[in-house]
C-alpha cells in the first residue's frame, strides 16, 4: 500500500492535492482512500491531507503514521512542531519539499539521510495562504514519484476534481502539475509501497495504567481570563470593512451593536472604530450601516493601500 501525506496551510490546496492524487490512483485502477485533516478551519493554519492507495481493498483508516512520501507545500511549516510534518518519518520515507533551498541544506538542517527532493518554490508572496498552485505542484510531483500514474491519468484527475472551475484555471493547474511531473522524471519510482506491521514481531505499545489524579488538575478547565484578546482572529479576514467617516452619520450604535465580535468600538466623540486585530470580516456592519458608510474591500487591496499610504507619507523632520 502507498501511504502519502501532504502538508501545507489552509488556502494552499492540500485537500485538492490529496484528491487529485487519489483520483489519479483511482484512474489507474487502485483502491483509494483520501482525506483532509482539519484543525482550525481557516486560511493560513497548518493542515494536512493523506492518500492511501492499494491494489486490494483498504481496511486501514485514519491519519497515516508511517508515510512512504511526505509532500510539503510550504517549507515554513517544517520547523513548526504543531504542524507534525516530521511525524512518523522512517529511513525509507521520501520527502518532497516546495522550497528555495537544496536537498543537502534540508538534510543537514533536519539531520536526516532520507531522500529529499525539491520542487523549486515560486517567488515569495505576501500572503502565504496564496502560494500559487502549491498543492498542484506537490500532487504532480507525487504522481511521478510513485511511478504508477501516467500523465493522462493525472490530467484526467485534475479535470475531474476541478470541474466546477473555468477551463482556463483547469488548464493552468494541469500545466503546473504536468510541469512538476516531468521535473521528477529522474526520480520516478523513488517512492515505493510500504509494508504492513507484522503481528509476529512488533514493538508492544507502552501502555500505562492511568492514575487517578486530583480533580484540581484532572478537570479540563481554563482559568486565564481574556485569552481571546491574544488570538488575532483578524488574520481570518479576506474582506475588510472600511468606514468612510465623511458619510458616517455618527448614529453611535448600529455598527457597533450588530458586530458579533464586539470589534467595533465607539470613541468618546461618537466615532466608530474597527479593531482590525479581531474583526473577522463578516461584513454585517456593511449590511447594517444606515447611510451605507462602510465599504468592503479585499484584504489584499486594503493591505496594498496601507503600504502605499505609508510609503508616500512625508517623514517628519
Amino acid at each position: 500500500m502507498y501511504r502519502i501525506r501532504f502538508h501545507g496551510r489552509g488556502g494552499q490546496g492540500m485537500k485538492t492535492a490529496s484528491r487529485v492524487l487519489g483520483t489519479a490512483f483511482f484512474q489507474e485502477a487502485f483502491q483509494v482512500q483520501d482525506a483532509p485533516r482539519y484543525g482550525a478551519e481557516r486560511r493560513g493554519a497548518p493542515i494536512f491531507a493523506y492518500v492511501r492507495a492499494s491494489r486490494t481493498a483498504i481496511n486501514e483508516r485514519g491519519v497515516i503514521n508511517h508515510p512512504d512520501l511526505v509532500a510539503i507545500a510550504d517549507d515554513s511549516l517544517i520547523s513548526a512542531p504543531a504542524a507534525g510534518v516530521l511525524q512518523g518519518i522512517g529511513p525509507r520515507t521520501v520527502m518532497l519539499i516546495n522550497s528555495h533551498e537544496s536537498p543537502e541544506t534540508w538534510q543537514h538542517r533536519l539531520n536526516l539521510d532520507n531522500t529529499i527532493l525539491i520542487v523549486p518554490a515560486e517567488d515569495a508572496v505576501t500572503d502565504r495562504a496564496d502560494l500559487p498552485f502549491a498543492g498542484m505542484v506537490c500532487a504532480g510531483a507525487a504522481a511521478r514519484l510513485v511511478g504508477v500514474i501516467g500523465r493522462e491519468a493525472l490530467a484526467t484527475a485534475i479535470r475531474e476534481e476541478l470541474h466546477t472551475h473555468g477551463s482556463g484555471l483547469v488548464d493552468r493547474n494541469i500545466e503546473t502539475a504536468l510541469h512538476t511531473y516531468d521535473l521528477m522524471q529522474d526520480h520516478a519510482n523513488a517512492v515505493t509501497e510500504g509494508t504492513e506491521i507484522s503481528a509476529k514481531s512488533y514493538a508492544s505499545p507502552q501502555w500505562i495504567e492511568l492514575p487517578l489524579e486530583n480533580a484540581g488538575s484532572a478537570a479540563p478547565s481554563i482559568h486565564a481570563a481574556a485569552t481571546s484578546t491574544l488570538l488575532k482572529t483578524g488574520l481570518w479576514r479576506t474582506m475588510r470593512p472600511v468606514i468612510d467617516y465623511d458619510h458616517c452619520s455618527h448614529c453611535w450604535w448600529v455598527c457597533s451593536t450588530f458586530c458579533p465580535d464586539s470589534a467595533i468600538r465607539v470613541n468618546e466623540e461618537g466615532v466608530p472604530e474597527i479593531d482590525y486585530d479581531h474583526c473577522k470580516g463578516c461584513l454585517i456592519c456593511v449590511a447594517k450601516c444606515p447611510p451605507h458608510a462602510i465599504e468592503a474591500i479585499p484584504e489584499n487591496a486594503a493591505k496594498a493601500r496601507e503600504e502605499k499610504a505609508h510609503a508616500t507619507k512625508t517623514p517628519d523632520r
Binding site: R19, G22, T23, F26, Q31, V32, Q33, D34, A35, P36, R37, Y38, I58, N59, E60, R61, G62, V63, N65, E196, I197, S198, A199, K200, Y202, A203, S204, P205, Q206, W207, I208, E209, L210, S217, P220, I222, H223, A224, A225
Partner: protein
C-alpha cells in the same frame, strides 16, 4: 455502475437523494454539515425534488422531522454529537409517535472537554429511545444503509424511526470508492412510502394529542415499541436479502469476519472495525486464529446472532469506543448480557476502551489486545478493563498540565 470516490457525508446525501425524500429539516454541526450542504445544493439546483427547511435548533429539527413523518411523507435529517443531545427530549418523544424517518448521526465525542473527532457516546445516548440503530463501517455501507433503513423503518411490522451512524472524520471526510446505485433500481427496491394509518393529510386539518397515562397503559405503549424494535431483526434480514438480490451487496445484522475457525474474536462497531479487520489479516498471516465480529445493527441488538457466532470461541476482546462513566464499556456489558447462560458461550470476555475522541488505535495495539486475550483464555484469569493509553500520551498531557499550572501561578491564583 462504475464506483466513484465519495466521502461518507456525500454517501449519506446520495442515500437520501436516491430514497427520494420529501422533506429535510436541517441544522448544521461539524462534522455533519457537508450532508445538508450537499442536499441543499441539489434541491436548489433542481437535481432533487423535496423541500429543505433550516430550523433554529436540533430540538425543533427533530420535532419537525417527527411531525412531517406523521403526515406520511418521507423524511431525512442529520445531526451529530451535541446536536443529538440538544434534541434528545424529542428523540424519545418522536420515537413514541411511531412515525418512521431516517436520522443520520455523524459520531463525534461529547463535551466536556470538547472535541470534533469521533467516539460513540453521542449515538449511544440515544440507545434506549426507541430509534433503531445501524452502525456503518464504510462509505458504501452508509449509502446502502440509508436506503435499507427506509424500508425497515417504514415496514408496518416495525414503524419506528432509525438512526444510521457514521464516524466523523474517519468516514465523514474520507473518500472511498462507492457504487452509486441506479435511481431506477432503488425505486424498485424502495417503493414510495405507504403511510397507511398515519392520520395527517394536507388540506385536512386534524389534531393528534398524546394522553397523559397511568402506569399500565404507559407500559403497554413503551413495551409495544420494544416488541416492534425486536421485530426489526427479522425485517432487517428480509430487507438485507432483497437488497443483496437487487444490488449484489449483502449486509448481515452482525458481520463476522474470519470467524469460523477463530479462537479469539475482536468485537467492535463502526469504522474502527475495519482497522480491526486489517489487524485480523496480519494476525492470520502470523498464524493466529483471530476473527472479528461487528454488530451492524445495534438496536435491536442481534443477541441471538451474536450468541451463535461466538459459541465455542475461547475468548472475545470487546473494544468499546465509548465509556459509561462509572461502569466502563457499554458494548462489553451488552455482550455479557447477550451471552450470559447461553450454551457454549465463550468463558472469557476482555474489555478495552479505545478511540475516545478519535484517538487512533494502532495495529500493534490490536496485536497486543489479541495477545492479552489469548493469555486470559489460557489462564482463565480475566484482566481488568484497560484504556488504550501510552506512556507517551500521558507525558504529553503532563506537559500541558505543567503549562496550565505555571500560567495559573502567573495569574496570581493559588
Amino acid at each position: 455502475m462504475q464506483p466513484k470516490l465519495l466521502t461518507g457525508n456525500a454517501a449519506a446525501a446520495w442515500g437520501a437523494r436516491l430514497a427520494r425524500v420529501d422533506y429535510v429539516p436541517a441544522f448544521p454541526i461539524t462534522p455533519q454539515t457537508e450532508i445538508i450542504e450537499t442536499l441543499g445544493r441539489w434541491i436548489e439546483g433542481g437535481q432533487m425534488p423535496g423541500r429543505m427547511v433550516t430550523l433554529e435548533s436540533e430540538h425543533s429539527m427533530i420535532t419537525a422531522a417527527g411531525a412531517a413523518a406523521a403526515t406520511g411523507v418521507r423524511v431525512f435529517t442529520a445531526t451529530s454529537s451535541q446536536g443529538l443531545l440538544y434534541g434528545m427530549e424529542m428523540i424519545y418523544t418522536v420515537a413514541g409517535w411511531r412515525a418512521p424517518f431516517v436520522l443520520i448521526n455523524v459520531s463525534r465525542g461529547l463535551a466536556s472537554p470538547i472535541t470534533l473527532e469521533p467516539d460513540h457516546n453521542d449515538v449511544l445516548a440515544a440507545r434506549d429511545s426507541g430509534f433503531l440503530q445501524i452502525h456503518c463501517a464504510t462509505c458504501q455501507e452508509v449509502l446502502d444503509s440509508v436506503i435499507m433503513a427506509y424500508r425497515i423503518a417504514e415496514d408496518p411490522r416495525v414503524r419506528l424511526p432509525i438512526i444510521v451512524n457514521l464516524d466523523g472524520f474517519y468516514l465523514s471526510f474520507t473518500r472511498e470508492p462507492v457504487e452509486i446505485p441506479e435511481p431506477k433500481s432503488v425505486a424498485d427496491f424502495l417503493p414510495a412510502y405507504d403511510p397507511e394509518s398515519t392520520r395527517f393529510r394536507a388540506s385536512s386539518p386534524n389534531s393528534q394529542a398524546v394522553a397523559v397515562l397511568g402506569g399500565a397503559p404507559y407500559s403497554y405503549f413503551r413495551y409495544e415499541s420494544h416488541l416492534a424494535s425486536l421485530n426489526a431483526l427479522d425485517v432487517h434480514a428480509e430487507v438485507a436479502g432483497a437488497f443483496a438480490q437487487q444490488f449484489g451487496r449483502h449486509y448481515e445484522a452482525v458481520e463476522a469476519y474470519r470467524c469460523e475457525d477463530a479462537e479469539i474474536v475482536f468485537l467492535m462497531i463502526g469504522s474502527f472495525a475495519t482497522k480491526a479487520k486489517a489487524a485480523v489479516d496480519r494476525l492470520r498471516d502470523a498464524g493466529e486464529p483471530v476473527g472479528l465480529v461487528r454488530p451492524r445493527l445495534l438496536r435491536p441488538l442481534p443477541a441471538k446472532e451474536l450468541a451463535q457466532i461466538l459459541a465455542g470461541k475461547q475468548a472475545v476482546a470487546v473494544i468499546d469506543q465509548n465509556i459509561s462513566v462509572g461502569m466502563g464499556g457499554m458494548l462489553h456489558a451488552e455482550l455479557a448480557s447477550a451471552l450470559y447462560g447461553k450454551a457454549n458461550a465463550p468463558p472469557i470476555l476482555t474489555s478495552f476502551i479505545g478511540g475516545l475522541g478519535g484517538r487512533d488505535i494502532s495495529p500493534e495495539e490490536f496485536y497486543e489486545i489479541a495477545a492479552i486475550t489469548r493469555k486470559a483464555a489460557q489462564s482463565g484469569v480475566i484482566p481488568p478493563a484497560r484504556l488504550l493509553y501510552t506512556q507517551e500520551e500521558y507525558r504529553e498531557v503532563q506537559k500541558l498540565q505543567a503549562i496550565a499550572h505555571a500560567e495559573r501561578h502567573e495569574m496570581g491564583a493559588e
